[in-house]
């Protein structure tokens, strides 16, 4: 039996340091799957509004799937609304739910209780992942655009924390069911995203080891925004020999040498990510200073699907 790749998983959490491009990776992954004919939902956490920007669509509605592209939906998780849904599903008697939701004591408590927003958010993701209609799953793939590393890991750990905290009762049972899905080694996968820079790579390595120690299924590392390589070691000697006599030629040569140096550093960071996490990182190209739109996402989706087994896995599922 082979280890399932990222592309075989149904529920994928995209995690990484702030600014590495988690939303772009989540959108590209969703695009790749939707173009292969799958029904995909990308869940956005904590009011990010990134999906509607990326797909240049109307705002992604709160707690309602909004179609971004054919077969691809966005879902913006609203904590207040989800808390209410959660209570409703347990209490069943609507007037009682309304009483609780309207009570000031409950609101103050819910707004301040650390961990409650995370549990409710994770619960909503779990609902998307297990939703069934007419005997088949509502979503073929659920992609989660997580908050930045520290908060993202805390989000993943919430279910475990709560089920450890409450020894019995409906909350505990629910947290336990969520934890089972979130940690499922075949159904769920966590993709750790980095950029080819020192600190994001260090943070990705730390995140992978934290998650593995806690039995979370790390499915892939992704190196986002690698500059396409334009110069090679054999170009360097000639470039190095050009003097300063011609300032215009010299400026072009300096640009080339700097780009070469930069690419070498980026490559070192890629090696570091690979060795530090014992993974083969998926590489996504830097598209330059252009806004990421549907066309750019299509290119990035190709870059993702071009990686190992991606296309086959998509077809097989």
């Amino acid at each position: 039996m082979t280890i399932p790749t990222l592309f075989d998983r149904r529920l994928v959490f995209v995690l990484g340091k702030g600014g590495v491009g988690k939303s772009v990776v989540a959108a590209a992954l969703g695009t790749a799957w939707a173009r292969a004919g799958l029904r995909v939902v990308i869940a956005e956490v904590a009011n990010q509004h990134r999906l509607s920007d990326l797909f240049a669509t109307r705002d992604v509605a709160r707690n309602t799937p909004t179609e971004l592209a054919p077969g691809l939906f966005g879902f913006s998780i609203d904590v207040d609304k989800s808390t209410e849904d959660y209570l409703a599903s347990h209490i069943k008697v609507r007037p009682l739910v309304d009483l609780l939701v309207r009570s000031r004591a409950f609101h103050n408590f819910a707004a301040a209780a650390p961990g409650l927003p995370e549990l409710v958010t994770l619960g909503k993701i779990w609902e998307l992942a297990v939703a069934v209609e007419g005997g088949r799953p509502v979503w073929d793939k659920v992609v989660v655009d997580c908050p930045a590393t520290g908060h993202g890991i805390a989000l993943l750990q919430t279910a475990g924390n709560v089920s450890a905290l409450a020894s019995q009762g409906p909350v505990r049972d629910q947290a336990h069911r969520i934890e089972e899905v979130v940690k499922h080694p075949a159904a769920t996968g966590i993709a750790i995203v980095a950029r080819p820079e020192e600190l994001p790579v260090a943070e990705a390595i730390e995140a992978v080891s934290t998650l593995r120690a806690d039995d979370f299924p790390v499915a892939a590392t992704i190196m986002n925004a690698m500059a396409p390589r334009r110069f090679w070691p054999e170009d360097a000697p000639a470039l190095g020999r050009v003097g300063l006599e011609n300032p215009r030629a010299s400026a072009a040569v300096q640009a080339a040498l700097q780009a070469h140096h930069h690419a070498t550093l980026e490559h070192d960071h890629l090696i570091e990510l690979a060795t530090g996490t014992q993974t083969t990182p998926i590489v996504m190209p830097d598209l330059g200073p252009v806004p990421i739109d549907a066309a750019a996402l299509a290119i990035l989706a190709d870059a993702l699907s071009g990686t190992r087994h991606a296309v086959d896995a998509v077809r097989g599922s």
Binding site: K17, G18, G19, Q48, D53, L87, I91, L96, S103, R104, A105, N108, F109, A111, A112, A113, P114, G115, P147, A148, T149, G150, H151, A154, Q157, T158, N161, L165, A166, S167, Q168, G169, P170, V171, R172, E197, E198, L199, P200, A202, E206, R230, D235, A238, L239, R241, V242, N246, P247, R248, A249, A251, A252, V253, A256, H262, L265, G288, P289, P291
Partner: protein, 369 residues
């Protein structure tokens, strides 16, 4: 903005989108202020442990450590620390519990163990408490606070208010532990109204979790007013002219957009904005590009294997650099507009993230220019 505008401010809060180099800029602001003779503490509350490397320290702890900033003379001092939410919470409980037994009860409570250590959100609560501790610390003239990425930076702004809400949840606390409130005037009335809420909640949480929660909240009896006062103190400080918020951005679209959202929010809530920093600006090429033939000839003379091909790639690179530099200028102009005409301080792209104090010095120089 210039560093001069931050002189004399008690607290400087650096906020902005993730990945813009906020931690580095916080440390560089700290260094620049230390050079003016001030004794500065730089605090990072970002869960990522970035500050240590930029400050050349192997690991940062919860206790401030003095950073060697080179030959001192008339310079002040630079100290750095990493927020440890659990350590701060533990200290808070030990300092403010009415007696050692009460402190012990809290520290041993199961809910407390999870709340103080693992649960997200406690970082922001504790950042407020830590900031409060540091403003009372006579060793420091100024405190520079790094914050988590934008969405969570807003959480941080909300943290004092949320703590106050939690305290206002005392009606819930009483209904959860009627024994603790039995002597309280008006308790009967309160309890009559809330018992229904209690009964419904219990159906969801289970009796045991709700009981634990009640014990946990009851253990904090006598500490609530302190919580409230400190949250209020920080709230007042952050809104006073003794504070300054610095919005940090890179030239990428998304961070500039987020910077705009932050500026709007800070302005709306009347937080004092000290200025903005545009980080990692790339220089505009100073000359016109060479012609292809000209460059091919130069590269051929330098012994390139395929000079025409190399010339082509070098020209493409030069053009890419020019486009990026143009975009960076555009972004500066956009941020200036978002700030109502105040230009951000521009920090050039130093290719490599500074990992030593000397590298941080270059960033500090750029901030002072």
């Amino acid at each position: 903005m210039s560093i001069a505008s931050l002189e004399g401010r008690r607290v400087i809060v650096c906020c902005g989108s993730g990945g813009v180099g906020k931690t580095t800029i916080s440390a560089a602001i700290g260094l620049a202020l230390a050079r003016t003779g001030s004794r500065v503490a730089v605090v990072t509350i970002d869960p990522a442990r970035r500050l240590a490397s930029a400050l050349g320290l192997a690991a940062l702890g919860d206790e401030p450590r003095q950073v060697d900033i080179g030959p001192t003379g008339s310079w002040g001092e630079l100290w750095a620390l990493q927020l440890d939410a659990k350590a701060t919470f533990d200290r808070l409980v030990q300092r403010h519990a009415p007696n050692p037994d009460a402190a012990q009860r809290i520290l041993e409570n199961r809910i407390y163990a999870h709340l103080s250590g693992a649960v997200a959100g406690s970082q922001e609560y504790m950042a407020v408490e830590r900031l409060n501790e540091l403003t009372e610390d006579p060793r420091f003239d100024q405190i520079v606070l790094d914050t988590p990425p934008a969405q969570n930076a807003l959480d941080f702004l909300d943290a004092p208010a949320r703590i106050t809400h939690f305290i206002e949840g005392k009606s819930l606390r009483m209904l959860l532990s009627p024994g603790a409130a039995a002597g309280h005037l008006g308790w009967k009335m309160l309890h009559a109204g809330s018992s229904t809420v209690f009964t419904i909640l219990e159906r969801v949480t289970g009796a045991q979790l709700l009981r634990d929660l009640g014990e946990f909240l009851a253990a904090f009896d006598g500490m609530y007013s302190g919580f409230s006062e400190r949250a209020e103190a920080v709230h007042t400080l952050l809104h006073s002219p003794r504070a300054a918020f610095v919005v940090v951005s890179s030239a990428d679209d998304e961070p500039v957009h987020e910077a705009g959202v932050l500026v709007e929010r800070l302005t709306h809530d009347r937080f004092p904005i000290g200025g903005a920093v545009m980080n990692r600006i790339r220089p505009m090429p100073v000359t016109a590009p060479p012609t292809r033939d000209e460059l091919t000839a130069v590269l051929a003379a330098a012994g390139a294997g395929d000079p025409a091909d190399l010339a082509e790639r070098a020209l493409a690179q030069l053009e890419d650099d020019r486009i990026r530099a143009l975009r960076d200028r555009d972004s500066c102009a956009r941020l200036t507009r978002l700030l109502g005409g105040r230009a951000p301080v521009q920090v050039p792209d130093f290719a490599e993230e500074p990992v030593e104090i000397a590298g941080l010095g270059h960033v500090a120089d750029a901030l002072c220019r």
